[in-house]
Amino acid sequence: MHEHDVIVVGAGGAGLRAAIAAQEEGADVAIVSKLHPVRSHTGAAEGGINAALREGDSWEKHAYDTMKGSDYLGDAPAIETLCKDSPEEVIQLEHWGLAFSRDEDGRMSQRPFGGMSFPRTTYAGAETGHQLLHTMYEQLVKRGIQVYDEWYVTRLAVSDEEDPTDRECHGVVAYDIKSGGLDAFRARDGVILATGGPGQVFDHTTNAVANTGDGPAMAYRAGVPLEDMEFIQFHPTTLPSTGVLITEGVRGEGGILYNENGERFMFEYGYANNDGELASRDVVSRAELTEVNAGRGIEDEYVHLDMRHLGEERIIDRLENIVHLAEDFEGVDPLEQPMPVKPGQHYAMGGIETDENGETCISGLYAAGECACASVHGSNRLGGNALPELTVFGKRAGQHAAGGDLGTAKIETGKRGDWETGEVDTPVEPGDVSAPGEDVVADGSGGTTTSSGGSLSPEKYVQRALDTERERVESLLEKDEGRQHAEIRADVQKSMTRNVNVFREEAGLKQALRDIRDAREKYQDVYVADKSSTFNTDLIQTIETRNVLDLAEAITLGALARDEFRGAHWRKENQERRDEVWLKHTMLSWEDGRPDLWYRPVVLEGENKTYEPKVRSY
């Protein structure tokens, strides 16, 4: 058994920042990550980091923009923390050597971004995330922080009191991918989840293959609520074969979208008569899918984004990296041909419920980054607001876990304070397919042990979690036949892309729940064909697939319950925002193998003012 004060799960921007902060606070900290840190998907971020650094700008303005962008579903204490701390964090990154782009006078450059009232998006060319990830990893090396890389965390070691808010987290169990052994990691002071986005729930995404939502799924099953899971951002211009993102900049420079008939559909079919191609991400995504559904898509799949008329000189000058992306990943030369594009899953606004210190309702368990929901993005994230979330909340979680005093959080977690029960009419029973309490070793939900009612020592809980995982891995490897995870995962991904995309209607959402249920049943027979204990990615992906199923279900349940149009979530039956009913967070708790739906009101009271919901129009 390994032992540290603080264990950070994940080594993207959020995990690295958390580890550095915990160490600065005096803790013995270690990172456990399924990828080597520099392989994390933070490296893919291009656009930049929002921070109110300059004269004429202020954190209050940034907060106002963010609240408006969230369509009034962000919590003011979290948003204000983000906007207040971001400038200091950006300066910190600069002091760590991050090679930001520079103005003539040598100061860091900032650029305008959608939804921002001031050009405050600080950037390093078109590779801000890459620079940020590597700069922070360098600091990790400098400090000699221990990294267990290519270790896959499969379970949290949490005590078993009846009420989740009484539980405590004592560590994690992880699988050493290279050599195939399971081991326990005891965390004396805290565990911080920083596992990134859940893009693999969909079959077409800008996220990495490793973004399978492991953190939220593990926290959920340990008793932490998942918050606002239905809010998924889709990006309108991704390459069809890989999901690689083509920046808004192409449309900003004058790129035009065409359907199969060569019609400029944004105008010709009246999707956005004023803004055309520059309408917001969700509007353009819906327009594209409408075209495809109406039979006007190319190969029934995508539309064309054409920038040839801009001329080679301008394209090379301003959008050179797009030329490479299209060539390398789609085999298309955009100087000669239009680029095929379609909407792709891009970002999850929801996640593990935390307060503004990164803490969940289970003491000693924290979450930060895209896997967490504090919530700063509410129902829609503005571009450039995710990277500051990594540094600001990564740092706070690290400090708090290591015993730093950040004051009492204003945001409540778990079923405490103000909350109400919810109800949703599902066509099939969601949750575990076996009866509650039944021994379901293979899918990681049960175990042979009975509850101790919170009476064991921390070491015993960690040991027990390890034993459970041993049983699970053994049972997966023991079976010689059954179904393979790839088929199950692909079915669910397809159903999610078809039914839980930018168009959401009751019938489709119910179909997705049926498909997920079906997949859960198939997963009962899952087996791992590769019996090797060396680098067994078959085993890892099989365990990930279980997590994908839980998250797919949570996203769909939230989407079915929320019958309104807010931010990124659109419902055919109710195409407007309904503040009278829906100014509240969707919460899902895993109780005895069943998702329990409830709601918590949004916190609109900020430090100096209360935010008044206004119509979101730009």
């Binding site: 520099v38 490296g43 893919a44 790839a486």
Partner: protein
Amino acid sequence: MSTQVPEQTEEESSADTESQSQSAAQQARMEKKRDRAAQRDQQREAEEAEREFSEDGTYLLKVFRYDPEIAGKQEPRFDEFHVPYHTGMTVLDALMYARDEYDSSLTFRHSCRQAVCGSDALFVNGRQRLGCKTQLSDLEEPVRIEPLPHQEVVKDLVVDMEHFYDQMHAVEPYFQTNDLPEGEQLQSRENREKIKMSTRCIWCGACMSSCNIAAGDNKYLGPAAINKAYRFTMDEREGEDMKEHRMKIMEQEHGVWRCQTQFSCTEVCPKDIPLTEHIQELKREAVKNNLKFW
């Protein structure tokens, strides 16, 4: 000779050890898949006619296989996979298809699928390339996929990266300066431009694997680590003291002077970093420095 498997260094990866290892079931499934793919492809035939690929619309991959503990895989071999082609398909897409449809034990690292995570540097048709950044249509068939040469093979296409990481860590790969201002440090555009390419490294290891010197001298820092050092040495924000300190590291026995300017690293770098140029520039800097102290 391209790949090293622990213990059995020499004779293993000769091309003729290919075996028809797929089971009958896999064959049958492949047939079915191929039929379906062929059907799909018929519809697109018109447009794709001028594209060069085998008649049934599939690509033939020959993939290196090795597992130290699975009987039948301990002896390295090549497996063949017929993968249905679609426009835009990359080497990584093809490998994922082969794994998900034919053989779930086929093992390789990958994550971002967009040339930023550096996980999937492979030896494809005799050259170091990123699987995700290589279009099948740019390659001759059959497509031969092997793990990076000069590194120990862990399993199939996965190599041990520890040595590469050790070298990267050996050059004090972090920003250091003796005087930090309160607010942001200033940096000129020219200076930022100067270090820009060097900051693009994604730690894929392709350069190191292509380097003859690194293959012969295990202690040689290698192109990626020297490039990392270049990135800081040339950053004006660190100041002159730091620069001197960094040059000392570069001038050590296994530093810049080992490079024999063969350009192989520069040729394979998927991020187009002018590695050889950077190494040469550090050599010149070293000469300048030494003259100063004499």
